[in-house]
Symmetry: C2
Subunit: 163 residues, 2 copies
Protein backbone atom coordinates (compact mmCIF):
# COMPACT_ATOMS: atom_id res chain seq x y z
CA UNK A 1 0.00 0.00 0.00
CA UNK A 2 0.98 3.58 0.63
CA UNK A 3 2.19 5.43 -2.44
CA UNK A 4 5.10 3.64 -4.01
CA UNK A 5 5.66 5.92 -6.96
CA UNK A 6 2.47 7.97 -7.10
CA UNK A 7 1.23 6.97 -10.55
CA UNK A 8 -0.90 10.05 -11.14
CA UNK A 9 0.63 13.00 -9.35
CA UNK A 10 -1.70 15.89 -8.57
CA UNK A 11 0.67 18.24 -10.39
CA UNK A 12 2.32 16.44 -13.29
CA UNK A 13 5.83 17.54 -14.08
CA UNK A 14 4.82 18.57 -17.57
CA UNK A 15 1.86 20.18 -19.23
CA UNK A 16 -0.18 17.84 -21.35
CA UNK A 17 -0.75 18.58 -25.01
CA UNK A 18 -4.02 20.41 -24.46
CA UNK A 19 -2.54 22.64 -21.79
CA UNK A 20 0.42 23.46 -23.97
CA UNK A 21 -1.80 24.41 -26.87
CA UNK A 22 -3.93 26.63 -24.68
CA UNK A 23 -0.99 28.32 -22.97
CA UNK A 24 1.66 28.59 -25.61
CA UNK A 25 -1.00 29.52 -28.13
CA UNK A 26 -1.78 32.56 -26.05
CA UNK A 27 1.88 33.56 -25.92
CA UNK A 28 2.37 33.07 -29.63
CA UNK A 29 -0.81 34.88 -30.59
CA UNK A 30 0.17 37.86 -28.53
CA UNK A 31 3.71 38.00 -29.83
CA UNK A 32 2.67 37.58 -33.43
CA UNK A 33 -0.25 39.97 -33.39
CA UNK A 34 1.44 42.73 -31.46
CA UNK A 35 4.44 42.61 -33.77
CA UNK A 36 2.24 42.63 -36.84
CA UNK A 37 0.05 45.48 -35.60
CA UNK A 38 3.04 47.53 -34.53
CA UNK A 39 4.71 47.07 -37.91
CA UNK A 40 1.48 47.96 -39.73
CA UNK A 41 1.00 51.12 -37.72
CA UNK A 42 4.60 52.16 -38.11
CA UNK A 43 4.57 51.54 -41.85
CA UNK A 44 1.32 53.39 -42.46
CA UNK A 45 1.64 56.27 -40.00
CA UNK A 46 5.16 56.19 -38.57
CA UNK A 47 3.60 55.65 -35.16
CA UNK A 48 4.69 52.90 -32.75
CA UNK A 49 1.95 50.90 -31.09
CA UNK A 50 2.71 52.24 -27.62
CA UNK A 51 2.40 55.80 -28.87
CA UNK A 52 -0.90 54.91 -30.43
CA UNK A 53 -2.11 53.56 -27.13
CA UNK A 54 -1.20 56.79 -25.42
CA UNK A 55 -3.05 58.88 -27.98
CA UNK A 56 -6.06 56.61 -27.77
CA UNK A 57 -6.34 56.68 -24.00
CA UNK A 58 -5.80 60.42 -23.81
CA UNK A 59 -8.39 61.02 -26.51
CA UNK A 60 -10.93 58.89 -24.71
CA UNK A 61 -10.38 60.69 -21.43
CA UNK A 62 -12.57 63.64 -20.66
CA UNK A 63 -10.99 66.93 -21.68
CA UNK A 64 -8.64 64.89 -23.85
CA UNK A 65 -6.07 64.91 -21.09
CA UNK A 66 -4.83 62.44 -18.50
CA UNK A 67 -2.58 62.42 -15.50
CA UNK A 68 0.77 60.78 -16.13
CA UNK A 69 0.45 58.09 -13.49
CA UNK A 70 -3.04 57.19 -14.58
CA UNK A 71 -1.84 56.92 -18.16
CA UNK A 72 1.12 54.77 -17.19
CA UNK A 73 -1.23 52.35 -15.52
CA UNK A 74 -3.58 52.25 -18.49
CA UNK A 75 -0.91 51.20 -20.92
CA UNK A 76 1.00 49.05 -18.42
CA UNK A 77 4.18 51.09 -18.55
CA UNK A 78 6.46 52.21 -15.77
CA UNK A 79 6.43 55.88 -14.87
CA UNK A 80 9.89 56.47 -16.21
CA UNK A 81 8.94 54.69 -19.40
CA UNK A 82 5.94 56.95 -19.79
CA UNK A 83 8.03 60.05 -19.14
CA UNK A 84 10.27 59.25 -22.11
CA UNK A 85 7.34 58.23 -24.27
CA UNK A 86 5.58 61.52 -23.60
CA UNK A 87 8.90 63.27 -24.26
CA UNK A 88 8.94 61.78 -27.74
CA UNK A 89 5.29 62.51 -28.41
CA UNK A 90 5.75 66.08 -27.21
CA UNK A 91 8.82 66.47 -29.40
CA UNK A 92 6.72 65.31 -32.35
CA UNK A 93 3.97 67.74 -31.41
CA UNK A 94 1.31 65.11 -30.79
CA UNK A 95 0.72 65.80 -27.10
CA UNK A 96 1.66 68.58 -24.72
CA UNK A 97 2.18 68.69 -20.98
CA UNK A 98 0.01 70.83 -18.75
CA UNK A 99 0.48 71.52 -15.09
CA UNK A 100 -2.24 70.41 -12.74
CA UNK A 101 -3.81 73.31 -10.91
CA UNK A 102 -5.07 71.25 -7.99
CA UNK A 103 -1.81 69.36 -7.46
CA UNK A 104 1.38 71.09 -8.48
CA UNK A 105 3.27 67.81 -8.45
CA UNK A 106 1.11 66.33 -11.17
CA UNK A 107 1.20 66.81 -14.90
CA UNK A 108 -1.36 66.24 -17.59
CA UNK A 109 -0.67 64.87 -21.00
CA UNK A 110 -3.14 66.46 -23.39
CA UNK A 111 -3.80 65.97 -27.06
CA UNK A 112 -2.74 68.59 -29.59
CA UNK A 113 -4.72 69.09 -32.80
CA UNK A 114 -1.90 67.29 -34.62
CA UNK A 115 -2.17 64.44 -32.13
CA UNK A 116 -5.88 64.11 -32.70
CA UNK A 117 -5.40 64.15 -36.45
CA UNK A 118 -2.72 61.50 -36.19
CA UNK A 119 -4.95 59.35 -34.03
CA UNK A 120 -7.91 59.70 -36.36
CA UNK A 121 -5.75 58.58 -39.23
CA UNK A 122 -4.13 55.73 -37.35
CA UNK A 123 -7.28 54.43 -35.73
CA UNK A 124 -8.67 53.10 -38.99
CA UNK A 125 -5.46 51.21 -39.68
CA UNK A 126 -5.26 49.74 -36.22
CA UNK A 127 -8.91 48.78 -36.01
CA UNK A 128 -8.78 47.13 -39.39
CA UNK A 129 -5.71 45.20 -38.26
CA UNK A 130 -7.30 44.04 -35.02
CA UNK A 131 -10.39 42.92 -36.87
CA UNK A 132 -8.54 41.19 -39.66
CA UNK A 133 -5.99 39.43 -37.49
CA UNK A 134 -8.10 38.68 -34.46
CA UNK A 135 -11.76 39.60 -34.06
CA UNK A 136 -12.72 38.32 -37.47
CA UNK A 137 -12.08 34.77 -36.29
CA UNK A 138 -14.73 34.91 -33.58
CA UNK A 139 -18.47 35.25 -33.58
CA UNK A 140 -20.18 37.50 -31.05
CA UNK A 141 -20.81 34.71 -28.58
CA UNK A 142 -17.23 33.52 -28.91
CA UNK A 143 -15.97 37.02 -28.22
CA UNK A 144 -18.12 36.96 -25.14
CA UNK A 145 -16.51 33.69 -24.10
CA UNK A 146 -13.05 35.18 -24.53
CA UNK A 147 -13.98 38.28 -22.57
CA UNK A 148 -15.32 36.19 -19.73
CA UNK A 149 -12.14 34.11 -19.75
CA UNK A 150 -9.98 37.20 -19.34
CA UNK A 151 -12.17 38.47 -16.56
CA UNK A 152 -11.57 35.24 -14.73
CA UNK A 153 -7.82 35.45 -15.09
CA UNK A 154 -7.15 39.11 -14.47
CA UNK A 155 -8.32 39.53 -10.87
CA UNK A 156 -5.93 36.87 -9.64
CA UNK A 157 -3.03 38.05 -11.75
CA UNK A 158 -3.32 41.78 -11.20
CA UNK A 159 -1.39 41.67 -7.94
CA UNK A 160 1.00 38.79 -7.96
CA UNK A 161 2.45 39.61 -4.57
CA UNK A 162 -0.70 38.48 -2.85
CA UNK A 163 -0.86 34.69 -2.61
Amino acid sequence: MATPTQPIPAEPAKLDAREVRAWRGLMRVHATLSKALDAELEAAHDLPLTSYEVLMHVADAEGERMRMCELAESILLSRSGLTRLIDRLERDGLVCRTTCSSDARGAFACLTPAGRAKLDAARATHLAGVRRLFLQHFGPEEQEVLASFWERVLPGAASTHCR
Copy 2:
Protein backbone atom coordinates in the same frame (compact mmCIF):
# COMPACT_ATOMS: atom_id res chain seq x y z
CA MET B 1 -31.21 58.04 -51.86
CA ALA B 2 -27.54 57.34 -52.10
CA THR B 3 -25.77 57.21 -48.74
CA PRO B 4 -26.12 60.52 -46.95
CA THR B 5 -24.30 59.64 -43.76
CA GLN B 6 -24.18 55.86 -43.78
CA PRO B 7 -25.99 55.14 -40.50
CA ILE B 8 -24.51 51.67 -39.89
CA PRO B 9 -21.10 51.41 -41.52
CA ALA B 10 -19.88 47.91 -42.23
CA GLU B 11 -16.76 48.68 -40.23
CA PRO B 12 -17.68 50.87 -37.29
CA ALA B 13 -15.06 53.42 -36.33
CA LYS B 14 -14.79 51.98 -32.87
CA LEU B 15 -14.84 48.56 -31.28
CA ASP B 16 -17.95 47.81 -29.31
CA ALA B 17 -17.72 46.88 -25.65
CA ARG B 18 -17.60 43.15 -26.28
CA GLU B 19 -14.84 43.46 -28.84
CA VAL B 20 -12.82 45.65 -26.53
CA ARG B 21 -13.13 43.18 -23.69
CA ALA B 22 -12.08 40.30 -25.92
CA TRP B 23 -9.16 42.14 -27.49
CA ARG B 24 -7.78 44.29 -24.71
CA GLY B 25 -8.31 41.46 -22.29
CA LEU B 26 -5.91 39.37 -24.30
CA MET B 27 -3.32 42.13 -24.27
CA ARG B 28 -3.65 42.71 -20.56
CA VAL B 29 -3.60 39.03 -19.68
CA HIS B 30 -0.43 38.54 -21.63
CA ALA B 31 1.32 41.57 -20.19
CA THR B 32 0.32 40.76 -16.64
CA LEU B 33 1.06 37.05 -16.74
CA SER B 34 4.36 37.30 -18.55
CA LYS B 35 5.57 39.93 -16.12
CA ALA B 36 4.44 37.90 -13.14
CA LEU B 37 5.97 34.66 -14.40
CA ASP B 38 9.23 36.36 -15.29
CA ALA B 39 9.47 37.96 -11.87
CA GLU B 40 8.68 34.67 -10.16
CA LEU B 41 11.31 32.79 -12.09
CA GLU B 42 13.90 35.45 -11.55
CA ALA B 43 13.21 35.63 -7.84
CA ALA B 44 13.28 31.87 -7.30
CA HIS B 45 16.06 30.86 -9.69
CA ASP B 46 17.69 34.03 -10.97
CA LEU B 47 16.61 33.01 -14.44
CA PRO B 48 14.80 35.30 -16.88
CA LEU B 49 11.81 33.87 -18.68
CA THR B 50 13.49 34.00 -22.09
CA SER B 51 16.44 32.02 -20.76
CA TYR B 52 14.04 29.48 -19.36
CA GLU B 53 12.40 29.14 -22.74
CA VAL B 54 15.75 28.46 -24.34
CA LEU B 55 16.63 25.78 -21.80
CA MET B 56 13.23 24.20 -22.19
CA HIS B 57 13.30 24.01 -25.95
CA VAL B 58 16.85 22.74 -26.04
CA ALA B 59 16.08 20.10 -23.43
CA ASP B 60 13.06 18.91 -25.39
CA ALA B 61 15.04 18.64 -28.59
CA GLU B 62 16.66 15.33 -29.37
CA GLY B 63 20.25 15.15 -28.23
CA GLU B 64 19.48 18.14 -26.01
CA ARG B 65 20.80 20.46 -28.68
CA MET B 66 19.30 22.77 -31.27
CA ARG B 67 20.44 24.86 -34.18
CA MET B 68 20.52 28.56 -33.46
CA CYS B 69 18.07 29.60 -36.15
CA GLU B 70 15.62 26.92 -35.20
CA LEU B 71 15.83 28.01 -31.60
CA ALA B 72 15.34 31.65 -32.49
CA GLU B 73 12.17 30.75 -34.31
CA SER B 74 10.87 28.65 -31.43
CA ILE B 75 11.10 31.43 -28.92
CA LEU B 76 10.18 34.18 -31.37
CA LEU B 77 13.45 36.04 -31.09
CA SER B 78 15.60 37.59 -33.79
CA ARG B 79 18.85 35.85 -34.63
CA SER B 80 20.94 38.60 -33.14
CA GLY B 81 18.83 38.55 -30.02
CA LEU B 82 19.40 34.83 -29.68
CA THR B 83 23.14 35.24 -30.21
CA ARG B 84 23.38 37.52 -27.17
CA LEU B 85 21.05 35.37 -25.14
CA ILE B 86 23.16 32.28 -25.79
CA ASP B 87 26.22 34.40 -24.99
CA ARG B 88 24.80 35.03 -21.54
CA LEU B 89 23.72 31.44 -20.98
CA GLU B 90 27.12 30.21 -22.09
CA ARG B 91 28.82 32.67 -19.76
CA ASP B 92 26.69 31.29 -16.94
CA GLY B 93 27.60 27.73 -17.92
CA LEU B 94 24.05 26.65 -18.71
CA VAL B 95 24.54 25.91 -22.39
CA CYS B 96 27.51 25.48 -24.69
CA ARG B 97 28.01 25.97 -28.39
CA THR B 98 28.95 23.11 -30.65
CA THR B 99 29.91 23.29 -34.27
CA CYS B 100 27.72 21.48 -36.76
CA SER B 101 29.59 18.76 -38.58
CA SER B 102 27.30 18.70 -41.59
CA ASP B 103 27.18 22.47 -42.04
CA ALA B 104 30.18 24.46 -40.91
CA ARG B 105 28.14 27.67 -40.90
CA GLY B 106 25.77 26.36 -38.29
CA ALA B 107 26.10 26.13 -34.55
CA PHE B 108 24.29 24.07 -31.96
CA ALA B 109 23.29 25.27 -28.56
CA CYS B 110 23.45 22.29 -26.24
CA LEU B 111 22.57 21.83 -22.61
CA THR B 112 25.28 21.47 -19.98
CA PRO B 113 24.65 19.43 -16.84
CA ALA B 114 24.33 22.71 -14.96
CA GLY B 115 21.80 23.86 -17.51
CA ARG B 116 19.74 20.73 -17.11
CA ALA B 117 19.85 21.04 -13.33
CA LYS B 118 18.78 24.68 -13.54
CA LEU B 119 15.93 23.74 -15.84
CA ASP B 120 14.74 20.91 -13.62
CA ALA B 121 14.66 23.28 -10.68
CA ALA B 122 12.98 26.10 -12.57
CA ARG B 123 10.42 23.97 -14.34
CA ALA B 124 8.45 23.30 -11.17
CA THR B 125 8.27 27.01 -10.39
CA HIS B 126 7.22 27.95 -13.89
CA LEU B 127 4.65 25.20 -14.26
CA ALA B 128 3.12 26.03 -10.92
CA GLY B 129 2.91 29.66 -11.98
CA VAL B 130 1.27 28.88 -15.29
CA ARG B 131 -1.24 26.64 -13.60
CA ARG B 132 -2.02 29.01 -10.77
CA LEU B 133 -2.28 32.15 -12.89
CA PHE B 134 -3.81 30.72 -16.02
CA LEU B 135 -4.70 27.07 -16.54
CA GLN B 136 -6.42 26.73 -13.21
CA HIS B 137 -9.20 28.99 -14.44
CA PHE B 138 -10.21 26.66 -17.24
CA GLY B 139 -11.68 23.20 -17.39
CA PRO B 140 -10.40 20.68 -19.92
CA GLU B 141 -13.04 21.49 -22.49
CA GLU B 142 -12.43 25.21 -22.05
CA GLN B 143 -8.73 24.69 -22.61
CA GLU B 144 -9.68 22.90 -25.77
CA VAL B 145 -11.76 25.88 -26.82
CA LEU B 146 -8.84 28.21 -26.22
CA ALA B 147 -6.47 26.00 -28.13
CA SER B 148 -8.84 25.86 -31.08
CA PHE B 149 -9.18 29.64 -30.99
CA TRP B 150 -5.42 30.10 -31.25
CA GLU B 151 -5.20 27.65 -34.07
CA ARG B 152 -7.70 29.74 -35.94
CA VAL B 153 -5.77 32.94 -35.42
CA LEU B 154 -2.19 31.83 -35.93
CA PRO B 155 -2.22 30.68 -39.56
CA GLY B 156 -3.42 34.06 -40.77
CA ALA B 157 -1.09 36.03 -38.51
CA ALA B 158 2.08 34.04 -39.04
CA SER B 159 2.98 35.89 -42.21
CA THR B 160 1.56 39.35 -42.15
CA HIS B 161 3.08 40.34 -45.44
CA CYS B 162 0.66 38.15 -47.35
CA ARG B 163 -2.71 39.78 -47.78
